[in-house]
Subunit: 207 residues, 2 copies
């Protein structure tokens, strides 16, 4: 199955700017992208990066600089169903989690992200259209029901943890095993264990 991975090649992860400089954010975003691509590949699926500009990476790249939902829907149309879309900032994504994503024989399979996003989807129903604006998981569920199809929802922590804000990095440090966690450790980002949830702190600047 074709799996598209949308990627902002220009100015990714702006909400991490309190911790990282722009070039660092690009480096970390690419480490996360490679973790996601490797996990998709390990699950026996065929990843293609759907990037806003050409990037240097060992996987197929399709460049489309239009808005996210427009580019994703065009890629779905061109590829035909079944097809999957997995966001690029899931450093905990694993082959096992992706195998669970593609397993249900449903018209649309959705994997929620923290905070209402849609971190992964499988589309078998050709008339389904993605819309990543706002609380997209809620909107996507409603759209699927409007098509007369019952959506399958995959219950996965590893697919739910997308990295947008500094607090999300704690999950990567706690559970990551790939390039992203190695990148963070190299950058001096460490767990800060307090009485409540763990946070992160950056002990040194490498730039």
């Amino acid at each position: 199955m074709d799996v598209f991975v949308p990627f902002d090649a220009d100015s990714p992860k702006s909400r991490l700017s309190s911790l990282f400089e722009p070039n660092e954010r690009r480096g970390f975003a690419k480490a996360m992208l490679r973790d996601v691509l490797d996990a998709i590949d390990a699950a026996g699926l065929g990843p293609t990066v759907l990037a806003t500009a050409d990037i240097d990476i060992d996987y197929p790249v399709l460049v489309d600089d239009r808005a996210l939902s427009t580019a994703v829907n065009a890629a779905i149309d061109d590829a035909g169903t079944p097809v999957a879309v997995v966001v690029a900032d899931l450093p905990l994504a694993s082959a096992a989690a992706l195998e669970r994503l593609v397993k249900p024989d449903a018209g649309v399979v959705l994997a929620p992200g923290l905070g209402g996003g849609t971190n992964a989807m499988v589309v078998r129903e050709p008339s389904f259209r993605a819309d990543y604006h706002g609380a997209s998981i809620r909107d996507h569920r409603e759209r699927v029901l409007e098509l007369g199809v019952e959506p399958a929802v995959v219950d996965s922590f590893r697919l739910a943890v997308d990295v947008d804000e500094p607090g999300d990095l704690a999950e990567v440090l706690l559970h990551g095993e790939g390039r992203s966690v190695a990148w963070l450790r190299e950058a001096g980002v460490e767990l800060a264990v307090t009485d409540g949830r763990v946070a992160v702190e950056r002990s040194c600047q490498t730039s």
Copy 2:
């Protein structure tokens, strides 16, 4: 299998004090507890509330006012293995997720919570001891490995979302189906959809 659900009957959910009065926090905590107990029951398991003080609820209650880890380990010792512990603030817990928790035939099965906690565990290895301090999921993994046992980790969003802070309520509003989400709606808590992750806002005070 016996499943213990530790519950702070006195002053639960203090980190929600910006939104709710103490009596409201007790009411919401109890709604979450009942959702968890119902999910455990629906999974064919036998829930017992391990409470700091007696509470009125339609499930067995064991009162132990000692510190959390002390009370949990005493309950594990008395019940014998296999035994499970599931925290009380998991309003998205489902029977399906709990069935996945008890399925692996491992000495210890762990379900991580957001921010480093251990939201659920199954203990078949009698010498294992719980310690909920700090980033407990990391410590529990290390303890299991020290016992020469490979821990199984359950990949579940529904078991990972524990409600501690106002931002966590967005997940309940987006994905909840039980008493907790009904309680929040009754209290006037609604999703506030912004450009990034969704948050919550309270439109009215009912107290």
